[in-house]
Amino acid sequence: MSYATQKLAEEKVFKDPVHRYIHVRDQVIWDLINSREVQRLRRIKQLGTSYLVFHGAEHSRFNHSLGVYEIVRRISDDIFHGRPEWDESERLVVLCAALLHDLGHGPFSHSFEKVFSVDHEEFTREILLGDTEVNEILLKVSAEFPKKVAEVIAKTYSNKQVVSLISSQIDADRMDYLQRDAYYTGVSYGHFDMERILRVMRPLDDQVVIKSSGMHAVEDYIMSRYQMYWQVYFHPVARSAEVILRKILQRAKELSESGYKFEQPPTHFLAFFDRSFTLKEYLALDEGVLMTYFQLWMTERDPILSDLCDRFVNRRLFQYVDFDPGKDYKKLGELAQLFHSAGIDPEYYLIDDSTSDLPYDFYRPGEEEERLPIHLLMPNGDIKELSRLSQIVDAISGKRRTDYKLYFPAELLIDGKKTAIKQQILEMLREGGL
């Protein structure tokens, strides 16, 4: 028996709060789960700083990766199995891609990537193709296999059905994270009838379609997604923590470049400051490492670095106000000047942040949209785009919503000696001056 088809003597199961059990029969999958690079995902939280708002949200990217694998396993082994439109030989590649799709995420990915201009997808590729345990395992399947898995994750694989299962507007990735994040945050949004959706998924030509009888389950899924984005993922307090995190990393970089003598040198970050990092150095980072630095830097001599770290560790987050950048960007400049005059560095203490989401969109011929639509399979075999039949989805299709916030440390302006400048700042922030 080849390694690709080798089965475990006994099925292994992981108890999971979302899918109840995650089933593993393939030796390849078992070996991948036990690799160093996949185990590292246990030390990276799925929702970054959201645990500072939703205290239950401590789940890791490891949990989520197993969840995506389980959904794809069910689709491949139960729903699509035996259907002539599905190529059974793609089973192992799609299972591996599902399990490994988030492999390149780093600690507090979003902030880390922004400050150091790195891309977790490039790291995913490097882990799959470089000198790693994961690569060694995939190579045992075949010489071309690591590349195939990397192509599925990068969405450049020739079989589009396989890509769609991992990455589309209704894919296993989203179906897992919506339910998992809802479970761990404790919110009541995010729940939808996944069992129903899975039962009505069908492989067809170069895509995966949904039988029209499942339309209402898909509507529920789209609305769950919409609610989760605005109630959980874009929560303004979690964004405040993200802002502080970004500023900590930015400050550490700036201090290092200016020759500042750290009491606790940023050894793990140096290669990222000058962009000379290797894959090994990237994989050495996790959230435990970052949190250790933040705790140690709370007593650094630099007042900005120590203050920001204290804010993050002890959850003394920035306050925020809504603002309209189109109207207020000049006032923002004035405000930055006032911060300077008040002895507060606006680069670190006055931060604008925007976030936006498009809940669902579809490709309109000639309009250059780049999202694959959700297609419904009608009883007569016709294919119809979801929003053409669903009034609910039509109502939110193509409608982007954006939220702008301005973050600042309120207590630095309120506490201590009251000055005319601080008063002026507070008035601008609080009384509609912005």
Partner: protein, 164 residues
């Protein structure tokens, strides 16, 4: 603050307006691949490298009144034309320094068709591969577009020209 927004306004101003969302996406991607400091993150989508962040940023700039988005009917299809408004020009001035080493590059890219830019951006997306592998991959992901050997040579020459 709003520096990333300002870079996009500056680029569209330098190009004297851009017609086509796809075109704008590929132009910024190509500039990014030429090491210009655009921060938008790209992934591979239907038309090649695509940035959801750029789409959001352009939408925001329209909301802010710094860009206008006009629908142009091209007969069998429609395209969006982006131009910088007077407020956008003021925003560009206030927010400062251009990141474009050579502003004429924006015009050079703008003079090319959407199809050519899609081809160029896709080749650049696979620039970790050798030339033949890049071409093979292009045919896998863009098989329906039937790019000719002449078009591919022209795209490689264009990339060389931008790099030199």
């Amino acid at each position: 603050m709003l520096q990333e927004h300002a870079k996009i306004v500056d680029f569209i101003a330098a190009a004297e307006g851009v017609t086509g969302r796809k075109k704008l996406q590929k132009m910024i991607y190509i500039m990014k691949k030429m090491d210009l400091p655009f921060q938008e993150k790209y992934e591979f989508h239907i038309y090649g490298p695509y940035s959801e962040e750029l789409t959001a940023r352009v939408h925001e700039l329209c909301d802010m009144g710094f860009l206008t988005e006009a629908l142009e009917d091209k007969g069998s299809y429609v395209q969006y034309k982006y131009t910088v408004t007077a407020e956008g020009m003021e925003f560009r001035k206030v927010l400062g320094k251009s990141v474009l080493d050579n502003p004429s590059t924006a015009g050079k890219l703008n003079a090319k068709s959407g199809r050519f830019l899609e081809l160029t951006a896709t080749l650049l997306y696979f620039d970790n591969l050798n030339r033949q592998e890049q071409i093979d991959k292009l045919h896998v992901v863009k098989g329906k577009l039937n790019f000719t050997a002449e078009e591919i040579d022209e795209a490689f020459a264009f990339i060389e020209g931008l790099r030199s």
